[in-house]
Point group: C2
Chain length 250, copies 2
Amino acid sequence: MAEVEGKIRLFVEAPLGPDATVALDPAQAHYLFAVMRLGQGDRVAIFNGRDGEWLAEVASVGKRIGTLAVVAAGQPQRVPPDVWLIFAPIKKARTDFIVEKAAELGAARIQPVFTRFTNSERLRPERLRAHAIEAAEQCGETYVADVAEPVKLAALLDGWDPARRLMFCDEGRTARPAAEALADAPRGPWAILIGPEGGFAPEEVARLRAMPWVLPVTLGPRVLRADTAVCAALTIWQATLGDWPAEGGG
Amino acid sequence: MAEVEGKIRLFVEAPLGPDATVALDPAQAHYLFAVMRLGQGDRVAIFNGRDGEWLAEVASVGKRIGTLAVVAAGQPQRVPPDVWLIFAPIKKARTDFIVEKAAELGAARIQPVFTRFTNSERLRPERLRAHAIEAAEQCGETYVADVAEPVKLAALLDGWDPARRLMFCDEGRTARPAAEALADAPRGPWAILIGPEGGFAPEEVARLRAMPWVLPVTLGPRVLRADTAVCAALTIWQATLGDWPAEGGG
């Protein structure tokens, strides 16, 4: 739940349209009525990730219960640029941060992977999903990044669709700089792979480099933490092939 | 204090050269001997931000005391790309994060500013400096971003050197996309200005837009948090005018 430029934006599960009414869950009702002090007739923006943004009015207020009624259309539904972020989970706070940043930077899908050198702490996808929803509320987006169940890197590569290119952020520093490599690369479906703090195992690097749809890139002369690399790689992708250029794209 | 690719890197204040010995402070000695379990003859990389990186050997070990002796030259001293990050402090954890990320992404100087809508919590520059040092240790860099004392934005602009261009990350969304605007911009000294969560006041925006050395840019269609905007703006600057391209620059 987030306030963007003075406007509260709330993600809801219910279908939305011109005459929709939405029953709030207890946490949402508490946030709107107890924390933000909204009352009957006050307005919020709501979205469900599928039906665009709508302006809604508080129609009924209760203790941890209430309803919103749609009163006007807001932003139309946007289609996310087709880029996935694939990352190896690290410490809990930095994993949360990676999900928040990937969602804010407009990834369509966030895929945790276990690599050979991943310290496989238990991941809670529902917790990560909550971060992705909060980021969508906060950044004014109409879609929510899809947080996938964690998988092993080898299994993910076994089932890879060759039509989806993979930007592989290689710590070996022998690849081309990311911005330059992406400027020459085709549009279409993409994914970005960021390794664990311990780097990839040599056999993982060899497999990745041998796949024709993999584009190895470097992110400058410094060793970036995984969370920094996520921000940098998504920024360069969005600025080059995604929806940051004025002319659109992605 | 950080371990990069299995090598411990330690920032020290002392002058460094072929025959230097360095007295460890209690925290450094505790880290090397108690935490990392180093003993006499073990090696670490040390740097002081001025004299390049050196390999040093543990020469004496005590309880919260000890010395290192330089045994070989490491990386030569690098000159940072001449880019400053100017940001309005936000919540403590996110301010710490901004300093860490700005240092990792190679800013030469980090300048906190108070703008009209900055919630001016007390800042502790020595704490921010510790984050910048840790980031330099971690990312393998030989220089440490200089963390300046906080100043008011108006005072900073009053004394601005017109030779230093300022990339102004404008939430108004009427400016050009950052990557496109920087591709046409000259090299030389730069600064990046990221506003507070509440945005800039209209008179601040008007003043910035009227200054000939200011380049307003946008960072995509989503509302980025200040810490995300810092990562994105520095990434685009480094990839365009900084030291990320293979051919060097900055």
